[in-house]
Each structure stands twice: as structure tokens, then as C-alpha cells.
């Protein structure tokens, strides 16, 4: 079971993991707003939402950036999915998911897929400089579809 958490999604709104029950959830831990690779990764996910939604999946991004930083980044890139701020205490949620790099004080580039009941079904760690793309996520979601049949 994925550990529950509550984080800010906007400056005045928090989201909790259990609110996603009934939907699959992709959690994308990433090192930082504004850095080029993360920008590409989030931009790519933004364009891919249709394919994720088709598989009953929602997406959230998590980094240790603050909620105002996320707001600004999200507006600049016109993101249509929430970025959650694992800001205070710094990296606490990322640590629960083994996605925190203590040396850098940033999240590692880690993906999780949770099923409709909140059980972790897939995860993937990428080298920090590599955008993992969407192919692995789509394959994992489709494997989940097939295992249900």
C-alpha cells in the first residue's frame, strides 16, 4: 500500500493521496522546477494526459520546491496537472517513497504507478539527467489493464 500524504497543490489548497481512490495515480518525483530536463519531462507529461486519462490514470508531480514556485512554473508551462510541494518538512514525503537524494537535497527522478486501491504496482528510477519519457508508464498501465481481464 502506498503511504498516504497531504501536500500543497496550490498556495491555498492541499491534496491528499486518498482523494485519488478509484483512479490510478502516477506520481512523478522530480528534482526541481525550471531545470531543463524536468521541464521537458513535465511538458511531455502535459501533452500525454489524454493517453493517461484513457487508462483511468491521474498524474501528480512532486518536488521539494515551494507552492509559489510550483504555481509560477506551472503557469509558465501551462501544466494541466497538479505539482505538489514536498517543502515542509523538506522532502518528508519523498523519503517515504525512497525518492529523496539527501546529498543534493532534491527528489530523485522516480515514477510510481498506484492502482485504484492505492497499491503500488510499478516504479522506475531514472538517472537524474534523463527524462524517462512516457513509454514505460503506458506499458505498465496497459499491463494493468490486461491483468484485470
Amino acid at each position: 500500500m502506498a503511504p498516504d500524504f497531504t501536500l500543497y497543490a496550490t498556495p491555498d489548497q492541499q491534496i491528499s493521496l486518498h482523494e485519488f481512490k478509484g483512479k490510478r495515480l502516477i506520481i512523478a518525483f522530480y528534482p526541481a522546477d525550471w531545470s531543463p530536463v524536468c521541464g521537458d519531462q513535465m511538458a511531455l507529461y502535459n501533452e500525454s494526459l489524454h493517453f493517461l486519462h484513457r487508462n483511468n490514470a491521474q498524474l501528480v508531480g512532486i518536488s521539494v520546491d515551494g507552492k509559489w514556485c510550483h504555481l509560477s512554473f506551472s503557469q509558465d508551462r501551462r501544466l494541466h496537472f497538479p505539482l505538489l510541494a514536498d517543502f515542509e518538512p523538506k522532502g518528508a514525503v519523498s523519503q517515504l517513497y525512497d525518492a529523496y537524494d539527501e546529498r543534493l537535497g532534491e527528489c530523485k527522478r522516480v515514477l510510481y504507478i498506484l492502482d485504484e486501491e492505492g497499491v503500488i504496482r510499478w516504479n522506475h528510477l531514472s538517472p537524474t539527467g534523463v527524462n524517462p519519457g512516457v513509454d514505460g508508464i503506458l506499458e505498465a498501465l496497459e499491463a494493468m489493464n490486461n491483468s484485470k481481464k
Binding site: 511538458a43 513509454d135 503506458l138
Partner: protein, 178 residues
């Protein structure tokens, strides 16, 4: 990572269809990096001549490049009138002017039937073609533009500088040794 699906007759192919080297680019007409790659690819096509076929698949990042998708549809619309590559070239040469009137101007320059071209900018079949290119890119592991596939395998080296050309030379040498 492999190209999914492989190149087929649904793709636009430039050059010798039987060439030993198949170079596929996933690109976005509004992406400045793709704009920079355009003359590099053109040069590679000149160097390799009959040994290379080039395929372009659309990977428009529409949220950050709002004119990329309509530009992609415009190339497909020109393709229906037999001028796909001519429009592809014109658009990359004029990457900063991709709004509707500019696309119409390019159609005029290519002597396309502009009424038909304008209607085809909203042709659902062409829009679907662009979207299915995008989905094939996602499934093939495209994570940025431009991304190249050489003989079906993702090319992970640099495309600026001599690396891409050198890699293709090696592939060509391999194909001749078999």
C-alpha cells in the same frame, strides 16, 4: 528503444525507399531545436544520397508550441496535393511565422489549390494522422524533440556537430560488410 510502429507506407519518406539507412525524425515545427536540426538533416541527406531515406513524424508539443500542430497538419494538407516535403521545407525555413495567414501564404507560394488546402487544415483525417504520429513517438520513447531513430533504434548521441553523420557512416559501413 525501438521504433513503434516501424516505418510503413503511411509515413512520408524522402529518398531511396530501398536505402540501407533509414533515418526517422520525431519533430515539432515550432521547436527551435528542430529548426536547428533542419539544415543538419538536409546536409546529411545530400551527403548520403541514395544510401539514406528520411522519414519525418510529427511530435508537436502543443501546450508550449501552440502553432506546432496546425503547422504539422499544413504539411499533411500539402501532402494531399503532392507537396509534403516542399511545405515541410518552407515551414522550417520560416519557423517564426506559422500563424494561419502565413500557412496560406506558403500554400500560395507552392501553387497549391488554396481553397482545398484551407479546408484540409481542419480535415479530421489529417489531424488524426498527426496525433497518431505523436502517440507512436510516446510509445517509442521519444522524450524531447528532435529525437532520431536509425534503422529502427533510438539514436542517443548528439545530433549537433559531427556525431550523427559519423554514426550514420558507421551504420552504412556495417550494412555494406554484411
Amino acid at each position: 528503444m525501438t521504433l513503434k510502429p516501424p516505418v510503413s507506407t503511411l509515413d512520408h519518406c524522402f529518398g531511396n525507399p530501398e536505402a540501407a539507412i533509414e533515418l526517422v525524425e520525431y519533430g515539432d515545427f515550432q521547436c527551435p531545436y528542430c529548426g536547428r536540426a533542419f539544415p543538419i538533416v538536409k546536409r546529411i541527406q545530400e551527403i548520403f544520397g541514395n544510401d539514406l531515406k528520411f522519414i519525418f513524424r510529427n511530435f508537436p508539443l502543443s501546450k508550449i508550441h501552440p502553432e506546432a500542430k496546425s503547422a504539422a497538419v499544413a504539411t499533411e494538407a500539402a501532402g494531399l496535393q503532392g507537396q509534403y516535403w516542399e511545405m515541410h521545407h518552407l515551414i522550417f525555413e520560416n519557423q517564426r511565422r506559422l500563424f494561419k495567414n502565413a500557412l496560406m501564404e506558403y500554400a500560395g507560394r507552392l501553387n497549391l489549390h488554396t481553397g482545398q488546402f484551407e479546408a484540409d487544415l481542419h480535415n479530421p483525417g489529417l489531424i488524426e494522422k498527426v496525433e497518431s504520429d505523436f502517440e507512436s513517438g510516446l510509445r517509442s520513447g521519444v522524450n524531447a524533440t528532435p529525437t532520431f531513430f536509425i534503422n529502427g533504434e533510438k539514436y542517443t548521441g548528439a545530433w549537433e556537430g559531427p556525431d550523427l553523420e559519423n554514426f550514420l557512416q558507421q551504420e552504412l559501413a556495417k550494412s555494406k560488410n554484411i
